[in-house]
Amino acid sequence: MAMTGVTNYLRFLRQAVHVATEGGWLFYAWMFVLTAISLVGANAWAVQVRDGMIRTHMTDHVSWGLYIANFTFCVGLAAGGVMMVIPAYLYRDEEMHDVVIIGEIVAIAAIVMCTLSVIVDLGRPDRLWHMIPGLGKFNWPISMLTWDMIVLNVYLLINLHVVGYLLYTRFQGRMPNPVWYVPFVFISIFWAISIHTVTAFLYCGLGGRPFWNTALLAPRFLASAFVSGPAFILFVMRVVRVGSDLPMHPGPARLLVQIIRVASVVNLLMLASELFTIFYTGSGHAAAARYLYFGEDGHDALVPWIWSAIVMNLVGTVLFFTPAALQRGTTRVVACLLVLVGIWIEKGMGLIVPGFVPSTLHEVVEYVPSLTEWKITAGIWAFGLLILTVMLKVTIAVFTKEMKLAPRTVAD
């Protein structure tokens, strides 16, 4: 029995490798481009490790930049990924069940991108083992970073388990046993909220950074994650529908649009509340916000970023409220793109960098990412999309029964 299990699993892997490397010229071109960008990123990172973080444009004044900005966005993407799971299981929406797995795959790819974004931000990646509990010194529960590391890794494991289990049972032609995945699905819902909350706590727990030190940060993170996650999934679903034989029902997509409608309004509302508190009070705490939105003493590197983000989020939200957004079509795609880019800026450059400008002693030192930082970040995205593509290929193959255990197995 055990032997059959092993051979069946090996067969699964072999077929998975096969379908993941099979496709039309568009697929090959896509994979080639992604690999090439990943390579450029890997090379830039290797150079950065050798020469030091001097290759970035970060300084002692702005000590976190594009990497941590991108990390924060990707955590949101990962959390938003299971947004499909809640309606599917809580409301027993059967159509959702089939697409839930897409959300979980997006979550896996996003967590991989998170992990990479943190690793490239380390001055000494060779000492990463210092973080392994037992081997190194793990400053838990004092350091919020250790909490973040735990929740992100557990989230990755939960999603790997659910996705792996669902795919493998389908591959075998069996019905998945709810005992083996439903509890994990519920844990992952809770966990999705925890990863983004803990990530917000990383920043808002720092008393010396008034721009971050607000109780609104975690709720805002969640609201924007529940916009960016579903928006990204809508995108992926469209690609799957156009590019494969797997049918994508319109129902789940409509539900996602509804989620985005609510979440984006909540997000904008909280933004308004934050702006009022900062600017009406007008205390010294407003310095970072003044710099971010209007520039200070001729320093205005972030002004174009944040206004683009605000315009994109507003227009995207309005578009999502049009009836056209409930249908397949350009409006929905454009709306998704707008809020994705808008939130990427808002959560990244618009949140991380103004935490450091002006500095804790009110010095204004600006930050614009270096070419190395752009290369590495692009490389991380390319690698994340590479993983996403491979996982989608396998999932589609299993769901369309292109990939299944042959009815005749080796007799034992």
Partner: protein, 311 residues
């Protein structure tokens, strides 16, 4: 057996053009990866296994610590060609250090910052120092009106000067932030960094409200003849690339009963340093008789660095 072959044969039979291209592409891809990360190998060849496996400072046995100090001393001597001595200075029992600074007589000459720069083997090109001196507008203690980049004769009219360095907080946010305990507070109140344990995530730098921490964006460069050869593991030894560092109250001097380099360099006597547990110390006298204040008291960090105006 025959059945197995029957299954495998089609697979072998599929060694067609497509499979061959896939194999070729995989090989090329792997080769490209190896080329892309080549700089990583160049870097790794310069790292030692002993350093990679080194334990946390506080977990080293006396013998292991001595071995580490010997290794680091050897390396430093090889690199600089100078008789560098790297020692380990332990806190003195019954001593807790504090610093006070008289803002009325500080003239903003920045000799303290310069002394720190030389004493602590800071990178020469960036003119790094643990001390930043702010030129402040009389009438308030508002850093928004302060300027650390002044270039004119001092003291200027209607200005006063505020040197800021690590406040050696009793409740240090940087120590809380560190995910791997690479930075901690010693018995005598000094917050130190194990440069051989830090992973360089810079969370402590984000957590510090006083801009006291510095990161080694690249390996510090100091001409061999300018290197201060009296070094200590937790203080002024030349830091590796990619790790944090900070003011350590010159523990390699102060734990020997000497004064910090910044204090010795001060031409006006604005700086007062000593053991707050000693009732006869000068620092204790200042704390008891002057109206001292600390920076950002509202944050609850409880600095051990005090400021006061004398008139």
């Amino acid at each position: 057996m025959t059945e197995r072959r029957a299954i495998e044969l089609p697979v072998i039979g599929e060694v067609t053009r497509r499979t061959a291209i896939k194999a070729g592409a995989t090989t090329l891809g792997l080769a490209a990866w190896a080329t892309a990360i080549q700089p990583l190998f160049e870097w790794a060849s310069e790292q030692s296994v002993d350093e990679f496996l080194q334990k946390h400072y506080r977990e080293l046995s006396p013998g292991e610590l001595q071995a580490v100090l010997n290794r680091l001393t050897d390396e430093a001597r090889r690199e600089t060609g100078r008789p560098v001595v790297i020692r380990d200075h332990q806190p003195i029992p019954g001593v807790v250090f504090a610093y006070a600074l008289n803002l009325s007589i500080c003239i903003g000459c920045r000799r303290c910052a310069e002394a720190c720069h030389r004493e602590n083997n800071h990178d020469r090109a960036t003119h790094q120092s643990y001390i930043r001196v702010f030129e402040m507008q009389k009438g308030g203690i508002d850093f928004e009106c302060g300027n650390a980049g002044y270039h004119h004769p001092v003291p200027a009219k209607d200005k006063y000067y505020m040197p800021v360095q690590c406040q050696q907080c009793e409740n240090p946010p940087c120590v809380k932030a560190c995910p791997i305990e690479a930075t901690w507070q010693e018995e005598d109140g000094i917050v130190v960094v194990d440069y051989n344990w830090c992973i360089g995530c810079r969370y402590c730098e984000a957590a510090c409200p006083y801009h006291a921490r510095r990161f080694n964006w690249e390996k510090p460069q100091i001409p061999a003849e300018e290197v201060n050869i009296q070094q200590s593991y937790l203080s002024n030894r030349i830091r590796p690339q990619g790790v944090m560092e900070k003011c350590h109250f010159c523990l390699h001097r102060t734990r020997e009963g000497r004064l910090p380099a910044c204090l010795e360099a001060c031409p006006t006597g604005a700086r007062v340093f000593g053991n707050v547990l000693d009732p006869h110390s000068e620092i204790r006298w200042v704390l008891e008789n002057k109206r001292v204040f600390v920076l950002k008291e509202e944050l609850g960090t409880k600095p051990r660095f005090y400021y006061f105006f004398d008139k």
